[in-house]
């Protein structure tokens, strides 16, 4: 099942276990050298053989011609030799003798040759001896041919062997060509060829590298033996041919290189993707990768790098089924070679690892017990003394008696890192802020040996059960398990020695566990996560006591690889609190980023660590360890601090539901404002203060002042404008939400409706319009809580329903944005004056609205009554947010300008 983390360690061998262990995973290294596929297809030896085969054919042809030409001569000689011939065919030794007789010059060599083993042994030293060489050549050729023809049959082999002999004799002794033919057919089933012959064959094959030498040697024969000339000629021909072929091969290779060099990026217009297979996509990924490695060399004229990158991203998205957003992020994080490795590694499941519960057993004992149950395991690594990696198991690991007795916990290797980094000491007070399902928490308790106090908190009541169960199973008795909102923990208790914050994240590092991450995460998810993470981290820091004699540490970890959720969050905390980064005490992993695209993080962030599937064979993970050196909060304006936190809080809390909706509303409002009623948004803002008799110019000025003062500090809080990417296309988010969350979109649409109504409100006669809208919103329940709050303040008398809703709405109230304001403002203006009938169907209302005569907003009288102070505050906040959203780009500019 799993694979080892350490590649260096050798696999152990032993009885019973580890027999079927997988080797260490190898990831294909992407080479950026020009692909030499032709080279790869044939091995050196294979190519040599191929060449020889060709050579052989030519030689044979030449020989045949030669023989036919010389036949008359041969006849005579044949008669002369005739006695020897049958003998040869019967036995190798005999043959040797006969050849001795026939060709005196060759006697000694011939003997060696035919003597099999002895000859083979002598072959190497004899090479310089010229006479033998052609023989050898032929043998080799022949055997090659045999191999080629897949003639496994021993007899056939023998026959062919003999053929070689015959051929040799043809040349040397000028035999009749008939014999040759016979031999070639392999009809001669003589038994003379024994094992020695075969060995010789093999030997000659092995000798292939010495061919050239042989050929050279044969040249020397020219003078001595005229008979050999034809062979020589053939040899020369062959050499030519060889050279030619080599040349051709080279050209071909060059061609292929050229082809890949001239990789054509598909035109932006053409849609070939439909027809492409995955292989094609993969090929294209390879091609583009190659192009991008040496862009100047391989690029296609007139195509920009970004075009290639875009195409690559699309292809990678298609091939690995990521969504574009995540792939873009990943491409920013990893360099090209790493990216492919990362993606590949993310497809493969990480090895299953377990953590020994040191409270109940020792790793060795546990390993023994599990091995007895048929589990193949090994220690995880040198960095941990409790981890075990499971290769395979015959029993379900989550249900062995050992598991149930709490001897181990199934836990990813990466999950042990934060606790190792935290290094809790005995008798400390430690907080695990987001503890479910209790893996890291129980690890902390185990490290503390059940002394001190462990606070395990998780805001999810369903998941908290798992924490309790695991703690009991693992025998942890010093824990307090609570179900609080972690962001409020500082109100409950502070003064911890250490805090572990394993923050909720998008999970982009654990794609192999949960592939849905690849497609479901979007910008907004990341935003939501990092806002929450910032909030949590600040809380975590606040909870720690800097004066703790042993501690004062915070460990922040996520299972995400995105810098937004990691370095950026820590960087934010560095600015906001008196903390510094300290080394983790883990000696592997990549250092954290100090810069990422346009961001420049604190240089000490390289002390944090990143862990990747392709380098560490564990889930993608990020761990940072902070030391709090002072309990004071560095930010001078404490109130602002509080405010910004509230904002942060609101964003984090409300984003899942209302933020998007309100955001959208806001945009809608903007759009409307630009279309029909240019004054509408401003109006709203002006009304907020409840100061009615200001001229337009005055209002404008005031508003701008407010905006400036607020946006300035807001911009400080959020380094990145929260909603910027959504601004340009207001329709998009709505669509997204529709796709992702039905409920949300519903709410949203309702909200939109409301805004529309409220926007149109003033056009109507003041009587009925706006109040029903508000009422609707209140009856709609939670989603409109923010709205409901305001009505309460204004028209207490008229709507008890709204009042009832308010207590719940307090939290999200701050978040309320423009549209509620709008609605409210209309209420301000109208509802108290005229008490509308409490219930009106929405459809009727809208009809009426449609029919209603248009009235300019400016004409609508504003509410003159003094607003309640509380409400004012709330409105202030909501307005801040609204303004923040609307004017962010401006704010940024202004800031720059000022600086």
């Amino acid at each position: 099942m799993g694979r080892k983390a350490e590649y260096s360690e050798k696999q152990k061998k032993g009885p019973g276990r580890k027999a079927r262990k997988q080797g260490p995973p190898t990831f294909p290294k992407k080479s950026f050298a020009p692909l030499e596929e032709e080279d790869k297809k044939l091995t050196h030896r294979q190519k040599q053989r191929m060449v020889k085969r060709e050579q052989k054919k030519v030689v044979q042809k030449a020989k045949l011609k030669e023989k036919r030409a010389q036949q008359p001569q041969q006849r005579k000689q044949k008669k002369y030799n005739s006695d020897s011939e049958p003998e040869e065919e019967e036995k190798a030794t005999q043959q040797a003798e006969s050849s001795d007789e026939e060709v005196p010059q060759l006697v000694p060599i011939k003997k060696q040759k035919s003597n099999g083993v002895a000859q083979k042994k002598q072959q190497q030293p004899k090479k310089p001896v010229s006479d033998e060489e052609p023989e050898d050549d032929e043998d080799e050729d022949e055997s090659d041919e045999e191999l080629e023809e897949d003639s496994d049959d021993q007899e056939e082999l023998d026959g062919e062997e003999e053929e070689t002999e015959d051929l040799y004799e043809d040349d040397m002794e000028e035999e009749v060509s008939d014999d040759d033919d016979e031999a070639q057919v392999g009809k001669l089933d003589d038994l003379f060829a024994d094992d020695d012959e075969d060995d010789e064959e093999a030997a000659s094959e092995d000798d292939a590298s010495s061919d050239d030498e042989d050929e050279d040697g044969s040249d020397d024969d020219d003078d001595e033996n005229d008979d050999k000339l034809p062979i020589e000629q053939a040899n020369k021909k062959l050499k030519k041919r060889l050279a030619k072929e080599a040349k051709e091969a080279d050209e071909e290779m060059q061609m292929t290189v050229d082809q890949s060099e001239v990789f054509q990026l598909p035109e932006p217009g053409e849609e070939l993707d439909a027809e492409m297979s995955l292989q094609d996509v993969q090929q294209r990924i390879k091609d583009i990768t190659q192009v991008l490695t040496d862009f100047a060399k391989y690029r296609q004229e007139g195509r920009s790098r970004s075009e290639y990158v875009d195409q690559l991203r699309r292809d990678l998205c298609l091939y690995y089924s990521y969504n574009e957003f995540l792939m873009e992020k990943l491409m920013d994080i990893f360099k090209l070679s790493d990216l492919l490795e990362y993606l590949e590694a993310s497809e493969v499941a990480r090895p299953l690892t377990i953590r020994t519960n040191s409270l109940k057993t020792r790793r060795r004992d546990l390993a023994g017990a599990l091995i007895n149950r048929g589990v193949n395991l090994d220690p995880l690594g040198k960095w941990t003394n409790v981890g075990l990696v499971i290769f395979n198991s015959t029993v379900p690991l989550g249900a062995t008696p050992e598991y149930l007795a709490g001897h181990y916990m199934i836990q990813g290797a990466s999950s042990m890192l934060p606790v190792i980094a935290l290094a809790p000491q005995e008798n400390e007070r430690v907080l695990d802020m987001c503890s479910a399902p209790g893996g890291k928490g129980s690890h902390i308790a185990a490290v503390m040996k059940n002394t001190g106090v462990l606070f395990a908190n998780d805001s999810n009541r369903d998941r908290i059960k798992a924490v309790v169960a695991n703690f009991h199973r693992l025998g942890i008795v010093n824990a307090i398990v609570s179900c609080e909102d972690a962001t409020k923990f500082r109100n409950i208790m502070t003064g911890f020695d250490r805090v572990l914050l394993d923050a909720p994240c998008t999970g982009t590092g654990v794609v192999s566990k949960d592939p849905s991450v690849k497609t479901t995460k979007s910008e907004i998810d990341v935003q939501r996560c990092y806002n929450l993470q910032r909030k949590l981290l600040l809380t975590a820091i606040d909870c720690v006591d800097a004066k703790s004699s042993t501690g004062g540490y915070i460990v922040y970890s996520t299972c995400s690889v995105l810098p937004e959720e990691n370095e950026w969050v820590v960087d934010y905390a560095l600015k906001k609190r008196n903390v510094k980064l300290v080394p983790l005490g883990i000696d592997f992993g990549e250092p954290g980023f100090t810069k990422f695209r346009q961001h420049r993080y604190h240089p000490s962030l390289n002390l944090s660590k990143r862990f990747y599937p392709h380098t560490n064979n564990m889930d993608g993970f990020y761990v940072a360890k902070l030391k709090k050196f002072s309990n004071t909060i560095p930010i001078t304006k404490e109130e602002q601090e509080a405010d910004e936190k509230q904002l942060d809080d609101a964003i984090a809390a409300d984003e899942p539901e209302s933020n998007k909706a309100t955001d959208n509303e806001e945009e809608k409002v903007e759009v409307e404002g630009t279309e029909g009623e240019p004054d509408a948004p401003r109006k709203l803002l002006g009304k907020r203060a409840g100061k009615p008799i200001l001229t337009d110019v005055e209002q404008d000025l005031k508003k701008k002042k407010l905006e400036q003062s607020k946006t300035k500090y807001v911009a400080k809080v959020f380094e990145k404008p929260v909603k910027v990417p959504k601004k340009p296309k207001p329709e998009n988010p709505a669509a997204q939400e529709n796709a992702t969350n039905g409920k949300k979109s519903e709410k949203q649409s309702k909200n939109v409706e409301q805004t529309e109504k409220s926007a149109k409100g003033p056009k109507k006669t003041k009587a009925e319009n706006s109040t029903p809208a508000v009422q609707e919103s209140t009856t709609n329940g939670k989603k409109s809580e923010k709205q409901s709050k305001k009505p309460v303040n204004e028209d207490k008398s008229s709507k008890p329903a709204a009042q009832q809703a308010t207590p719940n709405g307090k939290k999200s109230e701050k978040q309320s944005k423009q549209s509620p304001q709008q609605a409210e403002s209309k209420n301000n203006g109208q509802s108290p004056n005229k008490k509308a009938p409490p219930q009106k169907p929405a459809s009727k209302l809208s009809e009426k609205l449609a029919k209603a005569k248009r009235v300019d907003v400016d004409d609508v009288p504003l509410l003159e009554g003094k607003p309640i102070k509380k409400q004012n505050n709330l409105k202030n906040k909501s307005k801040q947010i609204g303004q923040l959203k609307k004017s962010k780009p401006n704010a940024g500019k202004k800031q720059k300008f000022k600086k």
């Binding site: 017990a369 989550g398 249900a399 008696p401 050992e402 149930l404 007795a405 709490g406 007070r429 106090v453 606070f455 908290i464 059960k465 798992a466 924490v467 309790v468 169960a469 703690f471 009991h472 199973r473 025998g475 008795v477 010093n478 824990a479 307090i480 398990v481 609570s482 179900c483 609080e484 409950i492 208790m493």
Partner: protein, 180 residues
């Protein structure tokens, strides 16, 4: 977290005594600080006083668990021990039953122990005595009550139940939702 009523305290200690006899004393007088029993949403928790104090920061609703849960009181004031109590029952148990490896898995699925599954048994245990069940390699698996006294066990035929199952560690998986 509130103190147990007089009545419930009595029930609790009676129940405890069933399994660990006089060792109840050791749960109360501990060398490493004061430990006490507390009740929270009808469940009985056993926890160090030091930790208990810290837990008072949390509101009634938000606190989920402090220390070790021993069991739960029923509406009729009967106490049912949860498997989580095993952590303290096992080391102090006076009467023990060991099951054969072949029966281990069966026991973990909630079956009573027949004579055939019985590996060892403490001497002199009477009928209906609370016992802690161990595997042959001394892994605490759960607890139950003897259906037969030790002497009866020896003469019983292989299929008769010798120990009633009350709780086993398989419940961590089987009954996670209902336990906590």
């Amino acid at each position: 977290m509130k103190r147990l009523t007089e009545e419930r305290t009595k029930v609790l200690f009676e129940k405890l005594a069933k399994y660990i006899g006089t060792n109840v004393q050791q749960l109360i007088d501990r060398p490493d600080g004061t430990y006490c029993f507390r009740e929270h949403k009808d469940r009985v928790y056993y926890v160090s006083e030091r930790i208990l104090k810290l837990s008072e920061c949390f509101s009634y609703k938000q606190i989920v668990c402090v220390g070790t849960c021993f069991g739960k009181f029923s509406k009729t004031n009967k106490l049912k021990f949860h498997i989580t109590a095993l952590y303290y029952l096992a080391p102090y148990a006076q009467y023990k039953v060991w099951v054969k490896p072949s029966f281990e898995q069966q026991y973990l699925y909630g079956n009573h122990i027949p004579k055939s599954g019985l590996g060892r048994i403490t001497e002199n245990a009477g009928q209906y005595q609370g016992v802690v069940v161990f595997s042959m390699n001394d892994l605490a698996l759960g607890f139950g009550v003897l259906a037969r006294s030790t002497t009866e066990c020896k003469t019983a035929d292989p299929l008769t139940t010798v120990c009633f199952h009350q709780s086993d560690i398989g419940e961590y998986i089987r009954a996670e939702d209902s336990l906590f």
